[in-house]
Symmetry: C2
Subunit: 580 residues, 2 copies
Amino acid sequence: MWFPHYRLNKSMTYFARYLPILDWGRRYDRSAFSNDMIAAVIVTIMLIPQSLAYALLAGLPPEAGIYASIAPIVLYAIFGTSKALAVGPVAVVSLLTASAIGQVAETGTAGYAVAALTLAGLSGAFLVLLGVLRLGFLANFLSHPVIAGFITASGILIATSQLKHILGISAHGHTLPEMLGSIGAHLDQINLVTVVIGLSATGFLFWVRGSLKPLLKRLGMGPLMTDLLAKAGPVAAVASTTMAVWIFDLHGVGVKIVGDVPQSLPPFTIPGLSPDLIKTLLVPAILISVIGFVESISVAQTLAAKKRQRIDPDQELIGLGAANLGAAFTGGFPVTGGFSRSVVNFDAGSETPAAGIFTAIGLTVAALALTPLVYYLPNATLAATIIVAVLSLVDFSILRKTWGYARADFIAVAATIALTLIMGVEVGVASGVGISILLHLYKTSRPHVAEVGLVSGTQHFRNVKRHAVETNPNILTLRVDESLYFVNARFLEDLVHSRVTAGCDIKDVVLMFSAVNEVDFSALESLEAINLRLIDMGVGLHLSEVKGPVMDRLKKSHLIGDINGKVFLSQYDAWVSLTR
Amino acid sequence: MWFPHYRLNKSMTYFARYLPILDWGRRYDRSAFSNDMIAAVIVTIMLIPQSLAYALLAGLPPEAGIYASIAPIVLYAIFGTSKALAVGPVAVVSLLTASAIGQVAETGTAGYAVAALTLAGLSGAFLVLLGVLRLGFLANFLSHPVIAGFITASGILIATSQLKHILGISAHGHTLPEMLGSIGAHLDQINLVTVVIGLSATGFLFWVRGSLKPLLKRLGMGPLMTDLLAKAGPVAAVASTTMAVWIFDLHGVGVKIVGDVPQSLPPFTIPGLSPDLIKTLLVPAILISVIGFVESISVAQTLAAKKRQRIDPDQELIGLGAANLGAAFTGGFPVTGGFSRSVVNFDAGSETPAAGIFTAIGLTVAALALTPLVYYLPNATLAATIIVAVLSLVDFSILRKTWGYARADFIAVAATIALTLIMGVEVGVASGVGISILLHLYKTSRPHVAEVGLVSGTQHFRNVKRHAVETNPNILTLRVDESLYFVNARFLEDLVHSRVTAGCDIKDVVLMFSAVNEVDFSALESLEAINLRLIDMGVGLHLSEVKGPVMDRLKKSHLIGDINGKVFLSQYDAWVSLTR
């Protein structure tokens, strides 16, 4: 069959854009294979307790955590662009999942599990849609301080939500006051043996995280071994507390355990598609998608920068969307690229997304063969691993940093933290985004406008209030320090009016547009109004330093033809021409 | 009693700020009084049919329209700052009222009237709150094109809503498809006599508006008389059709008439305060407040500009809020400053808000004595006055103008018009605002960044792609044409990275900040990341033309200390220093 070469090539490129695996897969070799295998073994061991724990956090049966780590990881390996990202259940997304599904079903019911599938499916569909429409930039609407505040508050919420497992009581709630109130009301149920297990595990894990590495180093152990032992901490905690429960039959004295976990491949599941369920879960799904995407892309870009690799945000949306759709059809719940698992994967030396595929194989083996081993694993131990992991996310320094730098950023962070803790994760993050945008619009609605004069001996103009500059009483030169658009259009109109009526000798007004990056239709109308008013008063209106894109646009309007003055390339030209 | 003069003076100023009447009231004289009286008589005559008509549009009994014109006009005269604004029921706000109350009660029921009072009360309270908090600038979030599109679409909706009165049928609906569908389904009810009255009145009023003035002028009549006769058009239509119905007993053949209107002072009423009602009406009340405020302030500022008077937007909020609270307690419904009535007031020569008080007195007399005269007034005539008034608001030219100037503005207008017609007024205007803001944020998320070079023989730098300029292969100068904030922080990071890695000879990067009006915390972190990356690559990072306010802020951070280069006052300084 005749097939023109350029066409083949073009269609390959087309597919490779949506299937990055075609690119790295062709160049896969033995060295990459062995590095990926080693990384996969390490990550698999770490992922087993983590997956069980996050399922617990999301309010789902433990096996859901393992299932949610298998298909998603493979699908991300096919569609994603990061070489190091490990996709699966993560703390913040699991918390959001619990909060969203808690509105539609009771924990432990069949409806709850189905709602989790639906949430993953909606989230996956939404992410793929954003990716196909190339809307990855929308994630930028979450500012760094808002994300930092949200993560800190989420960490506190997550840690608090696990206290009930450490205490061995039942409690509920999705906000800090609800949780604390509910814990207080159930304090009489405290199981002391559970408390002992929970506190020992928590203490042990904090010790491993903080003091073990320095100790091993002092004992002369090599860095690789040190690292490996430190990472095995959660596994050791799981193994030792499981053994303790089994040997001393602590389940008999009321210690809650993981219990039966089915030995099975990930099942084929179908998300609930009732319009009511979809309507209720749509907004939470969008929120989970955006937050998951922001977390994931931050991790992916941080790791890619270290190896000078590129991440394509729009393709990442497709990769994460595919992973969530995978979770929806294989008994999982919403997933994203996690920080801790990705860092482990990276540190363990994974070279390609194949490491993810090998991890999935390892987890499949675990799901089929190893689940009986966690029968006696106490929930308190899983809670301890979550608490230790999330408390490392809690960092209030962002409050101090933003307070020192810019009050608007501080307000956004403080509101995000407070509202997340008091009103819950959805309200918290939505308010953070809304407040950031409103504060930005507010700032641009009252822009800084400086009267400028010539810096002697140069052709440069600066603010008369800050620099010693030459001015001329007949010329008012205003440098407008903001794009002109509907939010501040009327502001400029009022300002020019009040400045011109205040100074009686003014014969020419020059608007210096060096900082005006846009003039929208509302602002155009304001400029026309200013021009008409100045014509009435016999005052000239001139523009200077209008940028190319702004000038292109103004030329389409009547303003440039009607203006009662000139448009000067530079402010210096205007000055020379008007003072002559 | 001893009373220090300065204190008296200070407290007078304080009161005068919230009570502008104290200011103009002290200077009131005989000349102003006679001018105000003449204006009041003209406005009163015009307001009677208009008030009845807008009550009909809002779905309320006719007297509500008169009541809504009495107390509000007096309260605005006390608290408002415009000398010419006439406050009362207006077309768009009446339509919004019908749409909002239609959700909670059936037209004609007691619940409907109470809901109208509650809506006016909530709107009044909200406006006063905004005024006290000095948040008048929020109205700027409605861009000119969005307002123009909304007014046009509302005009079409209002005219369509009146078709049922012209046809003599019953129909309902709050969107164009609903209304047209409902009219189509009730076409069998058409009353031919009503149609004749309705079409004659409409035709007559269009003729008065379009052709009467030129005709009278050709007949040699003076401009004042011409104007007066043209304005008497609606009164003539009301009088003649009322007479026709009375003489020929057309009510007997099915022509719907205004009927009994109580002869009474405005009653004292109490708005409904049930939490459910308030919850349902809160969002519509906010919307009505904002739209009413925008309409009112536009009219007030247009008229004030003609006489070089000042309008205080925050005090206007208080004036309109007081007017609406007044409507809520005197049997009215939401009101605002109307365009047509204010222009009549202005043209008739009103000098102070006292003209409004005299108008209120005139309307009170009408409410007490003249209501029996409108017993036989056909609804079709009122509908005709509304249709002719609102069709003058319909103006699609904004679509053509924005299309030619800026696509983003066009999209906002087109979406506002389409969504208002198809989904209703609330969705339409909310979408218009939302879309404007999102499009603005989208534009700033991918800012224009120009590589600039020196314009020979000057100290001025322009885009290398648009001008013949001097450049140096070792220096990359980027002029960032946008404030740097969270929405575009990562964009700059990626851009600098890709530009520096693309050109291998680059030794220095200069970011020219002449158009950067803000650097928020997210952008600061990006600049720090850019700096660290350039240090790694052995490339210098310099800033030039940083504005005062931006520099003040940057000095609070580590960036200026850590930067791998210098901060230059002007780009020319940077060029001279780096090329030496």
